[in-house]
């Protein structure tokens, strides 16, 4: 697998062959989703059945850091940026909605499956978020669609939609209904007029089409940069409606969609429903901003729908969902026990959070090497477990709905070098960086020197692209358009530099090493070296996070001192 954009297209005829019903798989899927409902919501209460905590206690499992005060399993799956319901109620809606979406996609005729998934997505998110935010999400996507795929006469009614939806998303909830209806129609007509009589003619000009397409696709980056800059220069903060922010989180996927579009991989007469089916799938609802690159682009998503037997996809999805339950349930418990063991059995002070270590060190506290190592490593292990739990859930839902999406997290503890680890912990995001930064830089600069060429490409992607496009813009979308967020993240630049440098060293080693035959984890006399390489890889990667999870009263130099203290090098003045 060389990049998620590299897919063999599949015909509808081949997809039909993959559409054989086997009801046992359906029952298994509903059972697994039922387990999610039982463990992670309060459904036991109205049903009058034993709570998950009491159930575990009956078998002698009295585990700390597993159950919450509601006596169900503490869970990181949540619905971002909304509080219409409690967390448990949101999860119940999500799990039930996913089950219904799965049934529709499984049993409906092939040509209706993707439409069913799109409408299921819309139904679930309208319930969870309300109509106004989803109007903003829809309106924004329709604007992008209308620009990239100019309408023909048969579909001109679509040009009404952006105006109506965008008005709805900006409208006040307290507005009177007659006013809302009037303004919805008015702005819909305005949108139709502007598009049909002005914009559509301009879009016939190639240069204008290209420029507006780029602006529409990159609107998240443009608007967040503009808003934060104005705020930083003394202006007031822009408060964007939730629907626009939900759309902005699709921005990486839009970026790749646009690349596919420019490469000619997308039919110009693509219908709106087909366009929306790329972005609107039940698998992406949970933790909206986590794994926001999953399901990116047209080529990858489209060619992965029913590209193998759907029951195999369901089985693959169920395996991921099973693992998801495991990681969600015991992630905190594992970290708690690792820290407990280090503190009480090995006598090594270990911090629960990296920021605590950072502040302790900056305030002049003792930070032995093992304290730094284990605090970093255990924190990273916890994040791996929790992210795996959530992202396996998301990808699992994609799979049971018929998409052969690859897992975003793939057993990072098997990585024996940083380049491999980077691909295992964030597959889809890494592919986004490869397509948008790595390849463009590699093919343009330092063509005479492979190692320098690689260095530039890796720093452009894992360094620059990761910092700006991956983190700063994401922080603005998630927390608000304030310049201080950019400043705060810019101070973390050493994390991206040390990460990029480590990946480069691994890549060069892969190219120059003599023994290219042996695969890691082969059962031979070199296996201990794999174990050592794995530990060094995970430890180094964890250590780079002292630049990311920092004490607010520290300077960049303080964090470099902490980083080198992790190697036993004391740089105290």
């Amino acid at each position: 697998m060389i990049g998620l954009g590299f897919q063999k297209p599949i015909s509808d005829k081949e997809r039909e062959k993959n559409n054989q019903n086997r009801h046992g798989f359906v029952l298994a899927t509903l059972a697994v989703l039922g387990i999610f409902i039982y463990l992670f919501t309060e459904i036991y209460h109205p049903l009058g059945i034993i709570s998950p905590k009491d159930f575990a206690n009956n078998f002698g499992f009295t585990l700390k850091h597993v159950f919450d005060s509601d006596e169900n399993v503490d869970c990181e799956i949540y619905i971002s940026n909304t509080s219409l319901f409690s967390n448990d109620q949101e999860r119940l809606i999500l799990f039930l909605g996913s089950a219904i979406a799965f049934l529709l996609a499984y049993y409906l005729p092939f040509k209706l499956k993707r439409a069913a998934l799109t409408f299921s997505f819309l139904t679930i998110v309208i319930i969870l978020y309300g109509i106004r935010p989803i109007a903003g999400l829809l309106g924004s996507h329709i604007i992008v669609y209308l620009i990239l795929h100019p309408l023909n006469l048969n579909r001109k009614f679509l040009a009404w939609l952006p105006g109506s939806f965008i008005y709805l998303t900006f409208s006040e909830p307290s507005s009177l209904i007659p006013a809302v209806i009037f303004n919805t129609v008015f702005f819909g007509y305005l949108s139709f007029f502007c598009y049909w009589f002005i914009l559509r003619n301009l879009l016939d000009k190639d240069k204008f089409h290209r420029v507006t397409g780029t602006i529409a696709v990159q609107s998240a980056g443009i608007i967040t940069l503009l808003g934060s800059s104005i705020e930083g220069l003394g202006g007031s903060e822009w408060k964007l409606p939730l629907g626009i922010l939900l759309f902005f989180f699709h921005w990486r996927r839009l970026f790749i969609y646009h690349m596919d579009f420019k490469s000619g991989r997308i039919p110009k007469d693509l219908t709106l429903l087909s366009y929306l089916s790329i972005f609107f799938s039940p698998g992406q609802i949970a933790n909206w901003s986590w794994g926001s690159s999953i399901g990116q682009g047209y080529s990858y998503t489209n060619d992965r729908f029913y590209n193998k037997d759907k029951n195999q996809l369901v089985l693959d999805g169920l395996k991921l969902l099973g693992w998801s339950i495991f990681y969600l349930a015991i992630g905190d418990w594992i970290k708690y026990n690792l820290i407990y063991y280090a503190r009480h059995e090995m006598g090594i002070p270990v911090f629960w959070r990296l920021r605590e270590l950072s502040c302790h060190f900056i305030d002049g506290g003792q930070a032995p090497v093992l304290t730094i190592w284990f605090s970093c490593l255990f924190d990273q292990i916890k994040w791996f477990l929790l992210m795996t739990g959530v992202l396996h859930f998301k990808v699992g839902i994609w799979k049971i709905c018929g998409y052969d999406i690859e897992p975003n997290m793939n057993r990072p503890w098997l990585a024996t070098n940083l380049a491999n680890l980077w691909g295992r912990i964030t597959l889809h995001y890494r592919d986004f960086l490869i397509r948008c930064f790595y390849y463009p830089v590699f093919f343009r600069f330092f063509k005479k020197n492979l190692y320098l060429r690689l260095f530039a490409a890796i720093m452009a992607s894992a360094g620059f692209g990761n910092l700006f496009w991956g983190n700063i813009i994401r922080r603005w979308i998630g927390r608000g358009l304030e310049w201080r967020y950019a400043i705060g993240l810019l101070k973390t630049w050493p994390h991206f530099v040390t990460l990029g440098f480590g990946i480069w060293v691994s890549a060069v080693w892969q190219l120059i090493k003599k023994d290219k035959t042996r695969k890691p984890w082969t059962l031979d006399r070199k296996l201990p070296l794999d174990l050592i390489s794995m530990y060094i890889t995970l430890q180094y990667y964890s250590l780079t996070h002292v630049f990311f999870y920092t004490c607010s009263r520290g300077t960049v130099w303080d964090f470099w001192r902490l980083f080198f203290a992790g190697f036993g090098i004391n740089l105290d003045p």
Partner: protein, 81 residues
């Protein structure tokens, strides 16, 4: 340079740089599944082809069809010469 020689040189490159013991590398062997399995190998292969055959490769040349097998890859190199 003729296409059979290009095929031979490419075969030698893959067998040396990305050995896959137990797999006989033929002209129609799936390179993407067995040899060019990540982006590092893509760029290493590109750099090899550029320096060894003296051709210029752009990002637009990267695609499934080009890298599918030795046959397609040598066809691509031949077209660039």
């Amino acid at each position: 340079m003729e296409k059979p020689q290009i095929e031979m040189e490419l075969k030698k490159y893959f067998e040396t740089e990305f050995p896959n013991p137990g797999l006989e590398l033929e002209s129609s062997t799936d390179l993407l599944a067995n040899f060019i399995t990540d982006s590092l190998r893509v760029v290493a292969t590109v750099a090899f082809m550029e320096s060894h055959f003296g051709i210029d490769i752009s990002e637009a040349d990267i695609g499934v069809e080009t890298f599918q097998d030795i046959n397609n890859l040598s066809e691509f190199v031949f077209s660039k010469l």
